[in-house]
C-alpha cells in the first residue's frame, strides 16, 4: 500500500571544495518517495547518485536545500533516522572478518537496542529468509562475495527498518548472486512493503526491483518516470521485438544445472 512520503528532497545541493575549484556533485535535486515505493537513482559515474544517497542517510551534510527522511533531518536527527533505516553500500563492508555472520548480526542487534530475548529469534529468522543458515558458523573471510552481500543485507535489516538504501549492491557479484539478491529485494518489497531506494549501474537490478527510476546527470535530474515507461523518452517509432531468453537468463540456467 503506497501512502505518505517517507523521503522528501527539495533543491538539494552539494558542493565539494577542491584546491582546483569547487565541484558541484548535486545541483538542486528535488523528489519525494512514498512508503512502499522502490526507486532507482541511476546515471553515469560522477552524476551525483552516491552523494545523494549519502545525504539521505545522514553521512554527508548538504551545502543547501532540504532533506527529510521519515519526517526528520538525517543530519540533525542522525540517531533517530539511522534507527529506522537500513543501508548497504556495495563497495564497503560492515562485517568482522574473523567471526561468523552470527556474531556480527548479534553486534548489530545490540547496537540497535533490540531486547535480548528477541535477538536470537530475529537472527534466526533473517538467516532463514536470506539463506544464510548453511554458512552462519563460518568466518566471514572464508565466504564468497555473494554470501557476504547476504550477510550485509541481514545486518541492514536486523532492526526491521522502514527504508532500505542500497548503493550499487550488485557490484562484483556473479549472475547467480545477482539473481538471488534481486529475489531477496523483491521479497522485501512484496511481503514487507519496504521502501527501497537504490543506485545501480546494472539495468537488470532496476528492471527487476524498481517501480520508478530517477535519472541524474551532472548533479541534476533529467528524468523521473515509472521504470516500465522509460523507453517512451527516446522511442520515436513503435516497433515490436520478439526475443528469446537473454544471455543472462541462459547463463543462470547453465550455472544452476
Amino acid at each position: 500500500m503506497m501512502s505518505l512520503p517517507v523521503i522528501e528532497v527539495k533543491n538539494l545541493k552539494k558542493v565539494f571544495k577542491h584546491k582546483n575549484g569547487d565541484f558541484v556533485a548535486v545541483d538542486g535535486v528535488s523528489f519525494s518517495i512514498k512508503q512502499g515505493e522502490t526507486v532507482a537513482l541511476i546515471g553515469p559515474n560522477g552524476a551525483g547518485k552516491s552523494t545523494t544517497i549519502k545525504m539521505l542517510t545522514g553521512i554527508l551534510h548538504p551545502t543547501s536545500g532540504e532533506v527529510k527522511v521519515l519526517g526528520l533531518s538525517p543530519q540533525k536527527n542522525r540517531k533517530e533516522v539511522v534507527a529506522q533505516i537500513g543501508a548497504v553500500f556495495g563497495q564497503r563492508s560492515s562485517l568482522l572478518q574473523n567471526l561468523p555472520p552470527r556474531d556480527t548480526l548479534s553486534l548489530f542487534a545490540v547496537m540497535y537496542g533490540l531486547p535480548k530475548k528477541e535477538i536470537k529469534e530475529r537472527i534466526s529468522s533473517l538467516e532463514k529468509m536470506l539463506d544464510i543458515v548453511s554458512f552462519s558458523d563460518q568466518p566471514i573471510r572464508t565466504l564468497s562475495l555473494g554470501q557476504r552481500m547476504r550477510v550485509e543485507i541481514a545486518c541492514a535489516l536486523i532492526h526491521n527498518p522502514k527504508i532500505l538504501f542500497l548503493d550499487e549492491p550488485s557490484i562484483g557479484l556473479d549472475i547467480i548472486a545477482k539473481q538471488a539478491l534481486r529475489e531477496m529485494l523483491q521479497y522485501l518489497r512484496n511481503k514487507h512493503n519496504m521502501t527501497i531506494f537504490l543506485t545501480s549501474h546494472d539495468v537488470g537490478d532496476i528492471e527487476a526491483i524498481c517501480d520508478r527510476t530517477i535519472i541524474v546527470n551532472h548533479g541534476r535530474i533529467v528524468a523521473d518516470e515509472p521504470t516500465n515507461e522509460l523507453y517512451k523518452l527516446i522511442d520515436k517509432e513503435k516497433h515490436v521485438e520478439v526475443r528469446g531468453p537473454s544471455l543472462e537468463d541462459v547463463l543462470v540456467k547453465i550455472y544452476k544445472q
Partner: protein, 263 residues
C-alpha cells in the same frame, strides 16, 4: 553501557581469533621488558646517585607499567580515524546508531584487550620476580586502589587526546604528523625514555601536570611518593578530561559537517 561492553567483547573475540598475533606480541613484550631491565640495571650501576632519586625497583615497575598500557593500544585511535577518512570507510560507521568516536574507542579497546591483559600479567610477574614489590609509602591495598583509579582515568585521557589528534584528519587528510608529535610528547612526559624522576624540577612539574604526562600517569603510581602526589595527579587528570571532552564535542561537530566522501 551494555552496548559498549558488548561491542568491546565482540571486537576482542574478532581479534583473538588470530591467536598467533597475540602470542607474538607477548613474546615481544617480554623481550623488550627484559632488555630494558638489563639496560636500567647497567645505568644504575654506572650512576650510583640515581637510586636516591628513584630506587631501582620503582624504576623497573614504572617502566613495566608503561609497557603494560602500551599494549592496550589506545594511541591507535588516531590511526583508525586516519584510515577511515582516507579510505572513505567512515561512512559505514556513520550509518550506525552509536556515535563514530565511541565506535572507534570500542574497536581499539576491543583489539587491545587480550594483549593488555596478557601484558599486565607478564609485566607484574617479571617485575616481581626480578625486583620484588616497589617501595611505596603507603599500604599495599591503598596503592593498588590508587593504581587502578589512575590507570582507568589516565587511559580515558589518552583516548581523548588521540581522538582529538584523529579529528585533525578531517582538515589535514593525513593526521600522521600530529599523531607523531602527540605520541612522542606522551612518551617523553610519560617517562618512557627516561623516568620523570630524573628530569629537571621544572620539567618534572610540567610532565606531571600536562595532559601528556597525565595520560601516562600510571607510571607515576610506581614512585615512592605516589600517595602524597595522588590528589594532585587525580585533579590534574580530571581537569584535562573535562577540557578534552569539551574540545572533542566542539571539534567533532565541525569535523563531521566537513566530511567529504566521493562516490
Amino acid at each position: 553501557m551494555y552496548k559498549g561492553f558488548y561491542f568491546i567483547y565482540i571486537i576482542a573475540k574478532n581479534s583473538v581469533e588470530q591467536k598467533k598475533r597475540v602470542i607474538f606480541q607477548m613474546a615481544n613484550h617480554v623481550i623488550f621488558l627484559l632488555f630494558s631491565l638489563y639496560l636500567y640495571k647497567h645505568v644504575y650501576e654506572l650512576v650510583p646517585g640515581l637510586k636516591d632519586k628513584l630506587p631501582f625497583a620503582n624504576a623497573v615497575w614504572s617502566m613495566s607499567a608503561y609497557f603494560m598500557v602500551f599494549w592496550l593500544g589506545v594511541r591507535n585511535i588516531e590511526r583508525r580515524f586516519r584510515e577511515d577518512i582516507q579510505s572513505g570507510n567512515i561512512e559505514m560507521y556513520l550509518l550506525r546508531p552509536i556515535g563514530y568516536v565511541w565506535q572507534k574507542v570500542f574497536v581499539v579497546l576491543g583489539q587491545g584487550l587480550y594483549s593488555f591483559i596478557s601484558a599486565t600479567i607478564l609485566s607484574v610477574a617479571v617485575s616481581y620476580f626480578v625486583v620484588g614489590l616497589p617501595e611505596i609509602n603507603t599500604t599495599f591495598w591503598f596503592w593498588i586502589l590508587g593504581v587502578l583509579i589512575i590507570l582507568i582515568l589516565s587511559q580515558v585521557l589518552t583516548c581523548i587526546i588521540f581522538v582529538l589528534s584523529g579529528l585533525t584528519g578531517f582538515w589535514l587528510e593525513n593526521s600522521e604528523p600530529v599523531h607523531f608529535l602527540v605520541s612522542k610528547l606522551i612518551m617523553i612526559f610519560g617517562g618512557a625514555w627516561v623516568p620523570v624522576a630524573f628530569f629537571p624540577k621544572a620539567l618534572q612539574l610540567f610532565a606531571q601536570f600536562s595532559p601528556f604526562g597525565g595520560s601516562m600517569a600510571v607510571t607515576f603510581t610506581m614512585y615512592p611518593n605516589f600517595p602524597q602526589q595522588f590528589p594532585l595527579l587525580l585533579f590534574n587528570i580530571l581537569f584535562w578530561i573535562i577540557v578534552g571532552l569539551l574540545l572533542v564535542r566542539f571539534v567533532s561537530s565541525r569535523a563531521f559537517a566537513k566530511l567529504a566522501v566521493n562516490g
